[in-house]
């Protein structure tokens, strides 16, 4: 195990070429996956990935690593189901162990409204061949004895849950390194520490990018920059229906393996899992105002720790090890935003909000097909950028996590 974790990925460092078939802005999961699938599925190897910082420095390295497919709109279920299936084979495909571990995920209900929602979720998932069941308090206790069914005895006991047995976690850094190494083996260039400062256009078409190293021409430009998508799109004069909100999380110090399942509660706005290293990982809802500040707050820590102790009393004695913040690009309907923009050959993979990590393989694969063939595959077609213009929204707020 330690040997696997210590395995290093070294990126080939070289000067950017003068020209690429495809330039990808953002060396996170979605950008690198797009590069990898362009090279492996479509034979397009003249691909340059430009990352402002180090690969996985943004949302891919800051999320809480949950993989699941229990969504509540048929379009989303199909998309995340594909993504989950790709994740299952990813370690083999990339020859890099992403430490995917099947845990089972609860979505707890403390109110009539949530109960109805979770029951609907289970029924819809079953109809679409995704393994989600509705269970009562007795079964919850049997599957996860650590849960306090009274939820701290504050008048909002747990009255049911949807349970998604395939729910898993994976190591997010490994996903980034695995895609980067595999893409590099196929001839893709990954440039770390190269910020894109401009997107050059000609006759309403993206033709290249500006970097500190000069101008680089490109047959197509893809933005995969998570929370910073609005700023990158603005370089091409494109406005997006996105608002960037901070999302905070923390881990406790390492503890013996005790919490095998993942526990989430939309009513209490908290989700909890135990990492492979033994840390108890806790996340919550996004901050209500938009911001690019990644400073963490004490009020989040205090409130979230209290809710965690209400649900899982054994956590009361644990000490907090680390706290961090990431930036999420929230779309109006809580579904992704993937497609070609109004500037021709400028593609945007954004709107991944709080649900981007689990979407990496299918998002990258769909975007690669769109860039290579000019046609969006049915998995990502419902998430096109201008769907709001003709009211084809994909409203899925209840599946976005704990909002």
């Amino acid at each position: 195990m330690s040997g696997l974790l210590r395995r290093r990925t070294y990126l080939r460092s070289r000067e950017p070429k003068q020209s690429y078939d495809v330039v990808i802005i953002g060396g996170g999961g979605h950008g690198l996956a797009t590069a990898y699938y362009l090279a492996s599925r479509h034979g397009i190897t003249s691909v340059g990935v430009f990352e402002r910082s180090y690969i996985g420095a943004g949302a891919t390295g800051r999320n809480t690593t949950v993989l699941r497919a229990n969504y509540k709109m048929p379009e989303s279920v199909a998309f995340y189901k594909q993504s989950f299936e790709l994740y299952k084979g990813l370690s083999l495909e990339l020859d890099y162990n992403i430490l995917m571990s099947r845990r089972g995920l609860f979505w707890l209900a403390h109110s009539e409204n949530s109960l109805r929602l979770q029951r609907e979720r289970a029924l819809l998932n079953q109809a679409l061949d995704v393994d989600t069941v509705f269970i009562g308090p007795d079964e919850i206790k049997k599957l996860c004895p650590q849960i306090d069914l009274s939820a701290g005895g504050k008048g909002h006991p747990i009255i049911g849950a949807s349970y998604h047995p395939p729910g898993s976690i994976a190591r997010h850094d490994a996903v980034v390194w695995g895609y980067a190494a595999a893409a590099q083996r196929l001839g893709v260039d990954v440039h770390e520490g190269s910020e894109v400062t401009g997107i050059t256009r000609s006759n309403g078409r993206a033709v290249g990018i500006e970097t500190a190293a000069g101008r680089i021409s490109a047959g197509a430009v893809v933005s995969a920059t998570a929370g910073y998508s609005s700023l990158v799109a603005a370089l091409a004069g494109v406005r997006l229906p996105l608002v960037s909100h901070p999302l905070q999380a923390f881990v406790t110090e390492r503890y013996k393996p005790i919490l095998h399942r993942m526990v989430a509660s939309s009513d209490m706005l908290v989700y909890i899992s135990q990492t492979a290293r033994g840390e108890i990982l806790v996340g919550a809802e996004i901050e209500r105002y938009n911001s690019y500040s990644t400073r963490s707050t004490f009020s989040f820590l205090a409130e979230c720790a209290a809710r965690t102790i209400d649900l899982l009393p054994f956590t009361a004695g644990l000490r907090i090890l680390r706290q961090w913040t990431g930036i999420c690009d929230m779309s109006p309907d809580y579904s992704p935003l993937v497609g070609e923009s109004e500037v021709e050959r400028f593609y945007v993979s954004a709107g991944w909000g709080t649900w981007g990590f689990k979407a990496i393989p299918a998002g990258g694969m769909g975007m690669a097909e769109l860039v290579a063939t000019g046609a969006a595959p049915p998995t990502i077609a419902p998430f096109r950028l201008d769907r709001f213009r003709d009211d084809r929204v994909v409203p899925d707020r209840s599946s976005a996590g704990t909002h």
């Binding site: 609005s230 406005r239 996105l242 105002y289 938009n290 500040s293 707050t297 913040t325 690009d329 109006p332």
Partner: protein
């Protein structure tokens, strides 16, 4: 990350007392359908000073318009009145 908002009626209070109303947008009934779509759905989502609205739900229940730097959450203009907004 915490910051304070200057309410004209209640004084300076923590942002926890307010609901966030988002970046300020134009409201013009004479907009074309395309302009209306852009105004309704698209956002600047600026990294820097942003003119925005907050609703003081735990106080006087009135709206406050201010300018905040979204990079560090410092309030750069604590209060913007309607005359100033009209002149913009």
């Amino acid at each position: 990350m915490g910051f304070k908002i200057d309410c004209p009626n209640c004084g300076t209070r923590s942002y926890h007392e307010y609901w966030f109303g988002g970046e300020l947008r134009a409201h013009d009934p004479s907009m074309s359908e395309d302009e209306d779509y852009r105004n309704t759905w698209l956002r600047t989502n600026a990294a820097g000073p942003q003119t925005e609205r907050w609703f003081h739900f735990a106080g006087c229940r009135r709206w406050v318009t201010l300018e905040r730097d979204t990079r560090d959450n410092s309030v750069t203009i604590p209060r913007i009145d309607i005359e100033t907004l009209r002149r913009r």
